[in-house]
């Protein structure tokens, strides 16, 4: 299955990329998606994750066609 991955703000700058597409034959969690997209980078403990624009835990399963996003703590308002 193919998953679109998006990065925002300081995380996007640090990774020097705004998007990835990851493919896998196996079922994946959000943490698996990160690992596949960033095999050499440990996810920072304050990084937030969303699937289809809802906040999720890293243990959340993903499905084909999902949009997964990773970003730092939000600072709007």
């Amino acid at each position: 299955m193919s998953i679109k991955v998006r990065y925002f703000a300081s995380l996007k700058e640090n990774l020097a990329k705004s998007e990835d597409i990851v493919d896998s034959q196996k079922n994946m969690t959000v943490a698996d998606v990160w690992l596949l997209a960033n095999p050499d980078k440990i996810i920072s403990e304050n990084t937030l994750a969303a699937v289809n624009m809802d906040y999720v835990a890293l243990t959340q399963a993903v499905n084909a066609g999902d949009e997964v996003a990773f970003f730092p703590p939000v600072t709007g308002g």
């Binding site: 925002f8 703000a9 300081s10 969303a50 996003a69 970003f71 939000v74 600072t75 709007g76 308002g77």
Partner: protein, 149 residues
Amino acid sequence: MKVKIVETTLNPWQEVEDYQQEAIALRGKFGATNIFIGTMRDFNEGDEVTAMTLEHYAGMTEKQLENIIKEAMQQWDVLDVLIVHRVGELLPNQPIVLVAVWTSHRGDAFDASRYIMEALKTKAPFWKKETLVNGSRWVDKNTDGYKKS
């Protein structure tokens, strides 16, 4: 209710006036309006800030803000809500966010407005990058806004 993300200058008075003008159903029914406006300051964490860039996750911001409004409406008697949030390049003294809440009674207006602002600060995917005199920096977390200075 309405959620709006704007890339150009946010005029909070015009936004509220226009929205209320169109909200025919509210006429004569609301007794209280509470409005919160967040505005860019020219200093932060002890440094002069000359400009700011607000990034957001388009789509998720609207989804999260609409959820927050629904949560507020479940907890208080709220007639209507308007949220307008600025993104892009900002200068000091420019408004960042507007929350307006219409209710029958004032307690609900104060409570719901405050709830929405706190939830927005925690859940809405916006990120601030400050331009300083020398360089720039991401704001790494929101202040709690309630600590005694």
